[in-house]
């Protein structure tokens, strides 16, 4: 152990002396290697950042890895069954949708059909009230169709039985999230998504809310804004607060989407309970067979393009890395030729051949590591600059941290290049004959 330590230390000391004595040559070796290592760092960083962004996007719009996602069959009792099943459970959340119009009564909303506010008034309405028959013939059954257009915003409302953030990584933007611990309030508290918040920022509308199936209009309270990754106006509300104003069956309207249940990976029994309940009411419809169950898996959903792009980028990087290694090899061979006397002398004073090879390898490895450090530093600075310059336009780059995987890849690339470039010079250094060189 001591011997090994002594040899390792000796190799590092002599390698360091060699680098210091040939700074320019080391610098030139580093330049030839730098681009290759930087390419590997950038490829790895890009891949990790893109993957993280995709996973984050998926966690926000669909659910976290392992979350069980269940869509209930379209049936008027779907929301009631959902609420009965999840009642008192913290590991399962039911999400039920309806449409709401907030603003002046008896007016057509500016974004009819709940369209993104940027596209409001663009025509081509295809919202929830467009009903098509089997032949593809569609009719507009919009109850507001004949009303004058005015200051009102149409949006989708998601009624939640519990805090959905345990399954979906909604990003808070401002204000608060829904309080599920306290008693429900009469005035429904809404958390808007960014698109809805944008709409309400553009149009100062009166806070009166009317929604499908409601027995009366209510006055909503906006308590916060979240980013849910959805490009249309949407709001989240406690289901019990919404149900002060509407019967539970109204939340089963298939025009506004199927009732969805999100459950933790450990929740195992609720799907069977749901199946049994739907089997009981379904009769010939075989509703229990229409239950769609999905387990969210980011690994299955990372697009192949990312992997392909990564391989292409890595291929090019490896090519450049090999060229860089050839540069180190070239410089290494020239250096060994120049240092024949030094190596012969070191052998004469007792340095074993293996350690001599180790000294040369230590020099190329240190060169590789220094290059890797420079490339990683450049990667960190470059990413910080990109985040600052383009973070507003590219959410992927917003406040992005340099991924450690890219650092590891850079160090590995530097070490591999050091070994590839140093092996032949090391073998040559170890074979230098003392007697021939040191002869008077």
């Amino acid at each position: 152990m001591i011997g090994l330590s002594g040899r390792l230390r000796s190799a590092l000391i002599i390698g360091g002396q060699g680098i210091r004595a040939r700074k320019l040559r080391t610098f030139l070796s580093m330049i030839s290697l730098f681009l290759g290592v930087l390419g590997v760092v950038a490829a790895q960083a890009g891949q990790v950042i893109a993957q993280r962004a995709l996973v984050a996007e998926m966690e926000m719009t669909q659910g976290k890895d392992g979350t069980q996602q269940v869509y209930l069959p379209s049936h008027e009792d779907a929301s009631r069954i959902a609420m009965d099943t999840v009642e008192g459970r913290s590991d399962v959340v039911a999400m039920m949708s309806t449409n709401a119009i907030i603003g002046e009564p008896n007016l057509r909303p500016v974004n009819e059909g709940g369209m993104p506010i940027d596209q409001a008034g663009g025509g081509g309405y295809s919202g929830a009230y467009m009903v098509c028959d089997a032949a593809g013939y569609c009719t507009d059954e919009n109850p507001n169709a004949d009303q004058p257009s005015g200051q009102a915003i149409e949006l989708r409302v998601q009624a939640l039985t519990a805090d959905v953030r345990q399954f979906r990584a909604l990003r808070p933007q401002s204000g608060q999230w829904l309080d599920f611990d306290g008693a429900p309030q009469l005035a429904p508290r809404l958390v808007l998504n960014k698109e809805a918040a944008k709409a309400f920022a553009m149009y100062q509308v009166p806070a009166e809310m009317r929604f499908e199936g409601a027995t009366a209009h209510s006055t909503p309270r906006f308590v916060g804004v979240v980013d849910d990754g959805i490009g249309a106006p949407q709001a989240y509300v406690r289901s019990d607060e919404l149900l002060n104003w509407m019967p539970v069956d109204a939340l089963s309207d298939p025009r506004f989407g199927q009732v969805e249940i999100l459950a933790s990976p450990a929740a195992s029994d609720f799907v069977d309970i749901l199946r049994n309940k739907f089997a009981a009411i379904g009769g010939d419809q075989q509703l229990d067979q229409q239950l769609y169950v999905n387990v969210i898996s980011s690994a299955d959903q990372i697009p192949e393009q990312i992997a392909l792009m990564r391989w292409v980028f890595l291929g090019v990087s490896i090519l450049v890395l090999l060229i860089g290694s050839a540069g180190i090899l070239n410089v290494g061979l020239a250096t060994v030729g120049e240092r024949i006397e030094e190596f012969a002398l070191r052998r004469a004073v007792g340095t074993p051949r293996l350690l001599l090879a180790g000294i040369v390898l230590a020099e190329t490895l240190l060169t590789g590591l220094l290059t890797a450090a420079a490339a990683i530093g450049a990667g960190i600075v470059g990413l910080a600059a990109a985040s600052r310059l383009f973070g507003d336009e590219q959410p992927m780059l917003e406040n992005v941290a340099f991924p450690w995987e890219a650092g590891v890849a850079g160090i590995a690339a530097g070490l591999i290049a050091g070994v590839l470039g140093g092996l032949v010079p090391a073998a040559r250094a170890a074979r230098i004959p003392i007697a021939t060189v040191m002869r008077a």
């Binding site: 040899r7 000796s10 074993p352 350690l355 004959p433």
Partner: protein, 245 residues
């Protein structure tokens, strides 16, 4: 069974425990031309504190003999005892360890590393993977060795700033820093003027006062005369020589 008759070289050696005993050492160089016999049954014994000069014309095999004794190369035949140990066929890994522990080398061309200071050049002999000394101890030993050579004040100077004599004394300090039992010097004064050469030879000889055995290969009869024994290598055979200053 009768004992083999003592060689001429052995007859003139002092009766102390031999550090080195080589017998019947042979070496033939096999190049593109005809094989050339360099050493043809050389016998040599070196005792502790003994100094031996080896004279001979250029190409007579003096440096080859030294490289075999210093374990730089391997003999074709004969036997090599280091103390009691037969090291005739010693593997390279062990040879390296012996070079580090038992031998000190001084060469004609100094072989100092230009990018290191005098002290670092001396200390480099202790950074060879054979054991480990902390930096402070290495430096202290290097300075002590330089001081022994009377050039401790030049410790921070790099070789290009030193004279030939100073450089050779740094090289001797490097050879002595690991306190070797055997000092091998291959024409150490060949690149020096007479006066500086005398200083260097005296520095080498003084090592024998501390029990070190010295083999000095030289062309200079004056320097050879300062050694306890003088041998002459001719046609691959080593024999006692008469020195005429």
């Amino acid at each position: 069974m009768t004992a083999a008759p003592a060689t001429a070289a052995e007859l003139t050696a002092p009766m102390t425990t031999p550090l080195i005993r080589v017998t019947g050492l042979t070496k033939t160089l096999k190049g593109q031309d005809e094989p050339r016999v360099i050493l043809d049954g050389v016998d040599l014994t070196l005792h502790s504190g003994e100094s031996i000069a080896v004279l001979g014309r250029s190409g007579s095999g003096k440096s080859t003999l030294l490289s075999l004794i210093g374990l730089f190369d391997r003999a074709d035949g004969g036997q090599y005892l280091l103390g009691e140990q037969d090291i005739t066929r010693i593997p390279e890994r062990k040879a390296a360890a012996l070079r580090s522990a038992q031998f000190g080398f001084v060469f004609q061309r100094f072989f100092l590393l230009k990018h290191l200071t005098a002290a670092q050049n001396v200390a480099m002999a202790m950074v060879n993977g054979q054991g480990w000394l902390p930096r402070r101890k290495r430096r202290a030993k290097a300075l002590a060795a330089l001081d022994l050579m009377g050039i401790a004040h030049l410790a921070k100077h790099k070789p290009p700033r030193l004279s030939g004599g100073e450089q050779q004394r740094v090289a001797i300090a490097r050879a002595l820093v690991r306190e070797p039992r055997i000092l091998l010097a291959d024409e150490p004064t060949g690149a020096l003027d007479t006066e500086t050469g005398n200083v260097v030879v005296e520095a080498l000889r003084s090592a024998t006062d501390r029990g070190c055995g010295l083999i000095l290969v030289t062309h200079d009869h004056d320097h050879a005369a300062k050694m306890q024994r003088v041998l002459h290598l001719d046609h691959g055979v080593l024999a006692p020589a008469e020195v005429r200053p």
